[in-house]
């Protein structure tokens, strides 16, 4: 059963057609990779899922209902979380506070006026946040201000923040960009573990083929705003259309 169903999505910026008749379907419980050369429209597509951009035409259905016309926070509340290309975290707050915020958002919904409650006495939130920090092994960094973390840790923190919401669908925009090989392997392990343990559906944009082929159960190749191939990983490698898109012609 597909949890995310994208049909005939078009999006243009002025004269530039960023997405043309994009069709995509992400199966529940799988890791679906979206690859393609620079400027193929991968990030634009992701932005259409989370309400940052609104497609000109087409439909985006998540878990049986349309995401179009919903605000970003409403989409998130239905169970879609996103990890950004450059980590979007609360950089002035501590690691622990960073993880607590999505826990509160999950429990209290999009708005809750509780100025007289104490953060200290919210036992369930603390339990969950502690648990989450263990999962991404950041417990020793809990009191650090998020901006002082290393790049890899910032990414891990952002991932932990998304996971703390128990999303149904996790969107990852180049989760290993700019990472050293060792960090990349750690991230692959982390993602694989998350998928095994929690069965969260993931859509991953990635450039690193090593990551793509070690994680993805299905791959969509995007080029010049259209999906040229959608297939299993083993069929993608030698596909002539993919080679054409990446190398500029079949050889």
């Amino acid at each position: 059963m597909s949890i995310l169903e994208v049909q005939n999505v078009n999006k243009s910026f002025g004269g530039l057609k960023a997405l043309q008749n994009v069709n995509l379907s992400v199966e529940e419980g799988t890791i679906h990779a979206i690859i393609g050369p620079n400027g193929a429209g991968k990030s634009t597509l992701l932005n259409c899922f989370i309400g940052k951009l609104i497609p000109d035409t087409g439909t985006v259905n998540f878990d049986g209902h349309s995401l179009l016309g919903m605000k970003p926070h409403e989409i998130n509340q239905t169970g879609v979380s996103r990890v950004f290309q450059t980590p979007e975290i609360f950089s002035d707050l501590t690691v622990y506070e960073n993880i607590m915020i999505p826990c509160f958002a999950k429990r209290d919904g999009s708005f809750c006026l509780n100025p007289l409650k104490r953060v200290k006495s919210e036992a369930d939130i603390h339990e969950k946040a502690e648990h989450m920090m263990e999962d991404v092994s950041m417990a020793d960094k809990r009191h650090m201000i998020a901006s002082s973390l290393s790049r890899g840790d910032k990414r891990r923190l952002e991932m932990a923040m998304c996971l703390a919401q128990d999303p149904q669908l996790l969107l990852l925009d180049e989760p290993t960009a700019g990472m050293a090989r060792a960090d990349t392997n750690n991230t692959i392990e982390l993602l694989a573990e998350i998928q095994n343990k929690r069965h969260i559906t993931m859509a991953v944009i990635e450039h690193d083929m090593h990551v793509v082929f070690s994680l993805a159960q299905k791959i969509s190749v995007l080029a010049q705003g259209t999906v040229i191939v959608e297939d299993l990983p083993e069929n993608i490698k030698g596909h002539p259309k993919v080679q054409e898109a990446y190398l500029g012609g079949a050889h």
Partner: protein
């Protein structure tokens, strides 16, 4: 240690209560122990605490907060005119009206953020100021300001009317009654109005502290650092910012109402942009985003305004009379630019130095000094202990 102290809320609260209640005694040696100024410390402290909830916590710089202060004052005076001279109904009305007014302005202004938000609030405040001066004269009494008169209805007080204008009271305790105490040649003045304002300040501080430590406050901090992330984390930031705006507007209304309680008249100049700018200065000077900072900043600015501005050349001559004549004249000539009418210059320089060297405000300065003293103590103690720890050969 200072961090620990700040985290320990109960200690902080007790320290604050002591500081405020002992104000008349602590400040008397500094020449600031008279009721009028002490009341102003409290009132502007409340104003700055409220402003800090919006600016320090949420990161929205409002340049029009004086509008709510003015609205609070007008509402309170109207309550004195129509209903009773008791301050409680007046304050309740002031807070409610300022809250509603800030709901309206906030709803519109918060559609934008950053500089556009600041400009929108400034525009609204200046609009309110101009309206209070001109079109709304029937309500605000225009240039003269809203005052009590003998033929006001004062429905609840009708029974006990005597000849003169009545004064504001708290269930019979007159606001401007003062008991004086002489001690070691110094006069300490304990004023009902001050203690009423002080209690209000303590309550306001306590409430702000609760907000700082609540999940709601955490969300406001998150809005300040990354509003985008918060949106994609499933939080609707608009109602949060609006709630912060209204809460800080109500604080301003309370401050305005207290102003009217201590001196029952209200003028439009309270809403002018200079008054809005002043609270920004107070918050930044003291340390925005901290609990104590805004109160400290408010005290500092009001102290400068009232005490520094009173120092004139003859006072300076008195201070430096021990110096030889030529030198004395020179020093007095240099210093007279910075005191008296020139107090703005000193304040400006101080503000510049704080912003450049202490971005965390005076409170950060205090923390640095404490750390420095502790560091010095530690290093000297290690110096002493080192020779002992070395094995004697």
């Amino acid at each position: 240690m200072f961090d620990k102290f700040q985290n320990n809320d109960r200690m902080l609260m007790l320290f604050f209560i002591f500081l405020v209640l002992a104000g008349p005694i602590l400040l008397a040696p500094l020449g600031a122990g008279y009721p009028d100024l002490l009341q102003r410390f409290c009132i502007f402290g409340i104003f700055a605490i409220g402003f800090n909830i919006l600016f320090g916590l949420t990161g929205y710089l409002s340049f029009g907060h004086a509008a709510f202060l003015g609205v609070g004052s007008y509402s309170a005076v109207w309550m004195f005119k129509l209903l009773t001279m008791n301050v409680i109904p007046a304050l309740i009305l002031a807070v409610v009206v300022a809250g509603l007014f800030s709901l309206l302005i906030g709803y519109i202004s918060l559609r934008r953020s950053g500089i556009y938000f600041s400009i929108l609030t400034l525009a609204f405040a200046q609009m309110s100021f101009s309206l209070a001066y001109s079109v709304l004269t029937p309500i605000t009494n225009g240039e003269t300001g809203l005052q009590l008169t003998l033929d006001d209805p004062r429905i609840l007080d009708a029974a006990n009317t005597s000849g003169g204008l009545p004064s504001t009271n708290f269930f019979g305790l007159t606001m401007n009654s003062t008991s004086k105490l002489e001690f070691f040649g110094m006069v300490f003045q304990f004023n009902v109005g001050f203690y009423f304002c002080a209690v209000m300040l303590i309550l306001a501080f306590y409430l702000a502290m609760r907000i700082f430590r609540s999940p709601f406050g955490l969300m406001l901090k998150a809005i300040k650092t990354n509003q985008n992330r918060l949106n994609y984390t499933g939080v609707n930031t608009r109602p949060y910012t609006l709630a912060a705006f209204v809460i800080s507007g109500m604080y301003a209304g309370l401050a305005g109402g207290l102003m009217a309680c201590t001196d029952p008249l209200a003028g439009a100049e309270r809403m002018q942009w200079t008054a809005s700018g002043e609270v920004v200065l107070m918050t930044i000077l003291g340390g925005s985003g901290t609990l104590l900072g805004p109160v400290l900043g408010a005290g500092f600015i009001k102290y400068f305004e009232n005490i520094f501005s009173k120092i004139n050349e003859s006072v300076l001559h008195g201070w430096f009379s021990f110096l030889p004549d030529g030198l004395e004249d020179l020093i007095v000539w240099v210093l007279h630019f910075f005191v008296g009418k020139g107090w703005h210059l000193t304040l400006g320089l101080l503000f510049m130095m704080v912003v450049i060297f202490l971005p965390g405000g005076l409170l950060q300065g205090a923390a640095n000094i404490i750390d420095w003293i502790r560091g010095k103590k530690q290093s000297s103690s290690t110096q002493i202990s080192n020779p002992n720890s070395m094995p004697a050969e």
